[in-house]
């Protein structure tokens, strides 16, 4: 049953990446390379932590629905704010996307670590560190009969609602992108905004909506990490480089959220495979942690050499659109 345990852990590692990559795919389809995703995911995580912390501190008894809803809403508001900052600067003010994204990451990671490290002190409570086990236990509620179903239950049914939501969101995004008019318009904006504009599509509106919704989805990955994976314990820099890995996953999934579901499990597996190899010393583990990045680079090279049209980034990715510029 080691394999089942490995797969279960791989899926848990993969869920934050799946959220991040689905969000980033929506954003990139509108022609915006948002390098702020790592910061946004931190923001989503800390947003949930702040909400849960304040609720746990102020409520006499925890109401299960509110205990999930408050952190969820706070997390979404946090990442929405980040998305709006990014949109305002890159869409309205046409600033450079890479620079804005990196600044957003600096800000978001700093914000997360700052409030994670000093939230207790700022609110004047005497708790040494933030430990939201109570809230986390509500988030981690899984199907009651999962454990009775052996390996199948362990791999597929033992997860919490946020994990299933990630898969559903990815499938829904995939459907919207390839089978609806809204998705068609969005792809048109990312491929050639001038043509889309001429066809009467409101380019700015599509960019704003795609980026902000994408940010909110990515932020949920941060929330999942804190509440489910880390049992409600915030540790500074604990989220690590998962945000960048999510961006790597976008390439691996060739900009399709449904492929991203399998990709996220693969990446999650690669991320933890070093724990499952016998007689591996610490330095060897460090080499193994390279794997997801090496795989992404190889993949990037292969798709660029083969240059199949459906496997390329949106052609206007990273470029600002200004109507008067021809």
């Amino acid at each position: 049953m080691m394999l089942a345990g490995f797969l279960q852990r791989a899926i848990m590692q993969g869920i934050p990446l799946l959220y991040g990559s689905t969000g980033e795919i929506l954003t990139e389809k509108s022609g915006h390379l948002n390098l702020g995703i790592p910061g946004i995911m931190y923001m989503g995580g800390i947003g949930g932590v702040i909400g849960a912390f304040l609720y746990e501190q102020n409520a006499a008894a925890l109401n299960p629905v509110l205990a999930v809803l408050i952190p969820l809403v706070c997390s979404m508001l946090g990442s929405l704010l980040m998305g709006l900052i990014y949109c305002f600067l890159t869409v309205t003010l046409r600033a450079n996307q890479n620079v804005t994204g990196l600044a957003l990451t600096t800000f978001g990671v700093g914000f997360g670590n700052f409030f994670g490290g000093s939230l207790a002190k700022l609110t004047g409570s005497d708790i040494p560190s933030i430990n939201l086990t109570a809230t986390s236990s509500y988030f981690r509620t899984s199907l009651p009969f999962a454990n009775d179903l052996g390996w199948f239950g362990q791999i597929f049914l033992s997860h919490s609602f946020l994990a299933y939501a990630a898969v559903i969101i990815a499938l829904a995004s995939s459907f919207i992108l390839s089978h609806t008019r809204v998705g068609l318009h969005l792809r048109a904006v990312g491929e050639n905004p001038a043509t889309a504009d001429a066809a009467g599509i409101n380019v700015g509106k599509y960019k704003y909506f795609a980026t902000c919704i994408g940010s909110v989805i990515a932020g949920l990955g941060g929330l999942y990490y804190v509440m489910d994976y880390a049992n409600g314990v915030w540790s500074n820099d604990g989220f690590g480089d998962r945000g960048w890995l999510a961006i790597a996953l976008v390439i691996f999934a060739v900009w399709r959220p449904n492929i991203s579901i399998l990709g996220s499990i693969l990446f999650g597996g690669l991320y933890i495979v070093h724990n499952y190899i016998r007689d591996l010393d610490v330095s060897g583990q460090e080499l193994f942690k390279m794997l997801p990045y090496v795989v992404t680079i190889l993949f990037l090279i292969v798709i660029s050499i083969r240059s199949k049209r459906e496997a390329q980034p949106p052609s206007h990715l990273g470029l600002p659109y200004f109507r008067e510029e021809r």
């Binding site: 890479n98 990196l102 409101n202 060897g284 942690k289 390279m290």
Partner: protein, 367 residues
């Protein structure tokens, strides 16, 4: 954009400016920095409930308070400036090298390897020479790999260089565990603590003076290279339009490879200065995010090496100042990243008002 009925002329529209007088441009930038400082002062005030003036005073004290702090500030400035200079030629060519973090680390790793492996056996001047060659070559190779694929198959360089960072970080982690003292601690500790083999010499009793002089020389060289050399011109043309470049006979592939080689080599040099000239140890955090900050520094300075001294000063000043605020008022050290983020948002935003003008509808505009 504002949603208005099509029958009516929109309330305002945006037009690109042909040019702007320099004092106006700098006025807008200064105003943005001032507003940003006020906003960050306000944020600090809300978090600490301290007198805002005291917060600013603490900031200045953190940056310039003592002679030691000033040296620290100038040293940090030099390091950030060095990485920023390194990424600049690539950016001018519109090659988004966000792999400076990895290129610096791999350069640092090469010099640390020389210090550890040859520290006892090779005389110091020769060792330093080997270190310089090794770290510059390591940085250059790390940058050439993505450049090669970009030049030949248009492989997306932003994503490629980004991934290379993490490979470099893990590689450093691997060697840090291999070399760790004591075994298994996961830390290298100060390399050659007693013999000082491979340490950059201190000039006139100042440890960092040599670093600062080297970076100044690189600054001047980069300015001349970009502004007055033929190769600098080729970089600009390739950046403006690859098709134009091809049309007037510039070998685009060669320019991409050559420019990334230079970019990576300077990053490798920065790695050497960090390991051999400053830290004398190595860890996965040795580059300290400078590779990413440098991108903002370089862009804010409009890719001009001389302005870059100003912009890296601004960033380093904020970091030092905000760190002092966080220690003085008992806040978490990540406070400086929040402040840096806010200021950069404002500066990024203000560029819009330099490049574009907002024109209001005629009736409203009539005075």
């Amino acid at each position: 954009m504002a949603q208005t009925q099509t029958t009516k002329e929109p309330l305002f529209h945006i037009a690109k400016r042909d040019s702007i007088v320099w004092w106006k441009a700098w006025g807008i930038r200064t105003a943005a920095i001032l507003i940003a400082l006020i906003v960050s002062g306000l944020v600090s005030f809300l978090l600490t409930k301290e007198n805002p003036l005291r917060i600013y005073a603490t900031m200045i004290d953190g940056a310039f308070g003592t002679k030691r702090r000033i040296w620290g500030l100038v040293q940090e400035l030099a390091m950030l400036l060095c990485v920023s200079l390194a990424v600049t030629p690539a950016f001018k060519m519109r090659f988004w090298n966000i792999g400076a973090e990895g290129q610096v680390l791999i350069g640092g790793l090469a010099s640390a390897a020389c210090m550890i492996l040859f520290g006892e056996s090779i005389p110091s001047p020769l060792l330093l020479l080997i270190m310089i060659i090794a770290s510059v070559a390591a940085g250059a190779i790390w940058a050439l790999i993505p450049a090669f694929f970009r030049a030949n198959w248009q492989t997306n360089e932003t994503l490629f260089t980004l991934m290379m960072n993490y490979i470099a970080i893990q590689l450093v982690s691997f060697f840090v565990y291999k070399w760790s003292v004591p075994k298994g601690s996961g830390q290298v500790g100060v390399i050659n603590r007693t013999s000082h083999a491979g340490w950059l010499p201190s000039l006139g009793g100042h440890d960092y003076l040599l670093n600062i002089i080297i970076v100044l020389l690189i600054t001047v060289a980069m300015y001349v290279y970009l502004k007055y050399s033929k190769q600098g011109y080729e970089i600009t043309v390739v950046g403006e339009s690859e098709n134009t470049a091809r049309y007037i006979g510039i070998p685009v592939k060669k320019v991409i490879l050559r420019t990334m080689l230079i970019s990576g080599a300077v990053c490798g040099m920065a790695g050497l200065l960090l390991i051999a000239g400053t830290d004398h140890t190595i860890s996965r955090d040795s580059a300290g995010g400078r590779g990413f900050t440098a991108i903002m520094v370089s862009w804010l300075a409009k890719f001009n090496p001389v302005y870059m001294i100003l912009t890296s000063f601004l960033i380093v000043f904020l970091e030092k100042g905000a760190t002092e605020i966080s220690t003085a008022f008992g806040l978490n050290a990540s406070f400086s990243e929040i402040i840096t983020g806010i200021i950069i948002f404002f500066i990024i935003g203000c560029e819009f008002f330099i490049q574009y003008t907002v024109k209001f509808r005629e009736k409203e505009a009539a005075k």
